[in-house]
Amino acid sequence: MAKKKQLAGKSTKLAKLPLTQALARRAEEQLRERALPADTSISPPHEGRAHGPLAAAYLYLLQELTALHRQLTPGSNPPSPHHSLPYHLLGAPEIKRALTLARQGLHELQHLLSQA
């Protein structure tokens, strides 16, 4: 087995120390704060949720899709896009997946609009 693999998951006394855990939590919070977008007009901040330009774009996309959904199916009550904002900063594979899903959704919408 590769030497590096044998080290994976090996924890130390230091890692279990409450001070280490408190410092790690603080570093994570600081990272989130740094990722806050300069312009928050699109996305009002939600406590404990991920922010940043990607989150704002994601939210904007959801808002647009919800508005279209309302137009096409009047009377229905889709969930607020704010509730769909992810709790964590999205990783590259998750963004790719979200964009694929959005593209599928847009295709379906296009189909519905052509029927309307």
Binding site: K3, L7, K13, L14, L17, P18, T20, A22, L23, A24
Partner: protein
């Protein structure tokens, strides 16, 4: 008022003495009156500055065991102007046992260091968590923890932080919010890539509590010990000398912040 700093790690061979000697020398060369307190019975800080055990009449042993014995009575000049050392001999090991019977035994060193006319006092601690180390923790306002890149050093660091927490009577919040300690990575060898990656990952939460300066493994530092000189006198062009100069700048930065003093660029010329 002196800025009292303990150089501390209960694990042996992490670079406590090398750090005490070279940081002390750099401070003295930059014009700061500095005292090194050798609290390790091995007396390596004392020997490292060219003082042979036979030349010592009184040492930290007397300070720790004789009531009201003053540091001024035992402190000796070194070959570096402005740098004094309160020496240690092997007798200090026995003294540690005697100290246990004294009242306020944790505060003996703090009392002895009170009102001394030095800008900086650096305490070289023994590699243990006994009464001598507790004394230095009680006396100091800042702690440097030299830490080697090894798994056992991390475990030792955990024990040490727990001890600091209990001796200084600090809560978790105070310990990480206040400028109480800094970890100093020593004997860093770039070739040990996998170990370095693992240890640095483990130390990530302590990024703000770690000196930016890393002391790289450097043969000149070992040779300077044999020559009984500070690295600035033995080989001022070595990477070891440069590393300790950078450490001194960072250390002074912390000291200035603590005392609300204006920032000042390090004076490279003043170190030989």
């Amino acid at each position: 008022m002196s800025f009292i700093t303990a150089v501390l790690n209960q694990k042996g061979g992490t670079g406590k003495t090398t750090t005490t000697v070279n940081l002390g020398a750099a401070l003295a060369y930059q014009g700061y009156r500095t005292l090194l307190v050798d609290l390790d019975p091995q007396g390596h800080t004392t020997i490292g500055l060219g003082i042979e055990p036979e030349a010592i009449r009184e040492s930290m042993c007397e300070v720790m065991t004789v009531p009201k014995k003053r540091i001024q009575d035992v402190a000796m000049d070194t070959y570096i102007p402005g740098l004094d050392v309160a020496p240690a001999t092997i007798h200090l090991a026995r003294a540690a046992e005697q100290v246990y019977t004294r009242v306020f035994r944790e505060a003996i060193l703090a009392q002895a260091l009170r009102g001394l006319d030095y800008d900086f006092i650096l305490i070289d601690c023994p590699p243990s968590l006994g009464v001598l180390t507790t004394n230095s923790l009680y006396a100091c306002g800042f702690i440097i923890i030299p830490c080697q890149i090894s798994r056992y050093s991390l475990d030792g660091l955990a024990d040490l932080l727990t001890t600091i927490d209990s001796v200084k009577n600090l809560g978790l919040e105070e310990l990480f919010q206040e400028n109480i300690f800094r970890i100093l990575l020593t004997m860093f060898d770039k070739r040990n890539r996998v170990t370095n990656e693992y240890i640095l990952e483990q130390l990530k939460p302590y990024q703000d509590k770690t000196f930016r300066t890393i002391i790289m493994k450097n043969e000149a530092l070992n040779q300077a010990q044999i020559a009984q000189k500070a690295i600035f006198d033995f080989d001022p062009r070595s990477s070891g000398a440069q590393d300790y100069l950078h450490l001194t700048s960072e250390f002074l930065e912390i000291w200035r912040k603590r005392n609300n003093l204006p920032a000042s660029p390090p004076s490279l010329q003043s170190c030989r």
